[in-house]
Symmetry: C2
DNA sequence: ACTAAATTTGCAATAATGTTGCAACTTTTA
DNA sequence: TAAAAGTTGCAACATTATTGCAAATTTAGT
């Protein structure tokens, strides 16, 4: 399949999920891509390989297990990203900045860039933050 | 209609848009609400008053004119918000933090909270940032 | 105030996207 | 290797979004 075949199995097993072709393929797409993927992207790559429903359910399962996390968008799509550093542990995906490249349109997890704290107005209590920066990524500069 | 009736007309005229019942009503919803609205919210409030298509097109027009701006979400919906401070000028809607209340689920523009700059890895050039914080808002605390 | 031009709306059709139940199949467990 | 557990695909359905076009409304000019 590709060079990630053992890695995908490991991640699935670690999360107590059955190792199936669909999950391996979708996981390998994330590993190969290093940016975020939307449901539509995955359908494009997998073609007629799996049913649409399977893709939906696979992504949902991955989110529940913390294998991928969601990235907010303004265009009515859901973006899913697997973060290199964190996916080993399966948690704490949610403290880094996401970068969206205006040129290649990839969404990249900047695992090393922590979201800064902001001072909120009186009466507001923070719980969790998301931050997205767009611009030009290191590949497109 | 409500106390904002002149304000809605002013905003529409300032943006060279025909003053119609649909636009006035939708704009007045934003003015009355002070939080963000999704397409579905607007349909709920307006009921059978206007066609769904009109709501879609009105929101699209408002975004193009800069009357409202988009807020990213992870739940496959588009949120639209009119920011109190900026809507007079019709631009620069995009430099403040958005707060999503976990209790009342409202999304609120914190017009006074500026998005902090972050240091990006080598090779990345920033252009624009978005930041969302959720937690408990001042009404729900 | 009245009319022509420009703009906006609603309808109908269509497309795209997401969800559910269930039977068949595959993977895991022991 | 067989039973149990988990996963998949199909079909049907639900929701959400888009397009073209004719009718209606709003605006601008007189």
């Amino acid at each position: 399949m590709d060079q990630h075949f053992t890695m995908t199995d490991d991640i699935l097993k670690k999360n107590k999920l059955s190792v199936t072709d669909g999950r391996k393929k979708i996981l390998s797409l994330f590993l190969a891509r290093d940016g975020a993927l939307a449901h539509a992207d995955i359908e494009k790559f997998t073609g007629e390989m799996f049913d649409r429903v399977t893709v939906y359910r696979t992504l949902q399962t991955f989110v529940e297990k913390g294998i991928v996390h969601l990235i907010p968008t303004t265009d009515n799509s859901i973006l899913y990203a697997l973060c290199k550093e964190n996916c080993e542990e399966g948690h704490h995906h949610d403290n880094h900045v996401h970068f969206i490249c205006d040129v290649c349109t990839k969404t990249i997890c900047l695992d090393d860039v922590t979201i800064p704290k902001v001072k909120l107005p009186k009466g507001f209590t923070p719980n969790h933050s998301e931050m997205m920066v767009n611009g030009v990524c290191s590949d497109c500069k």
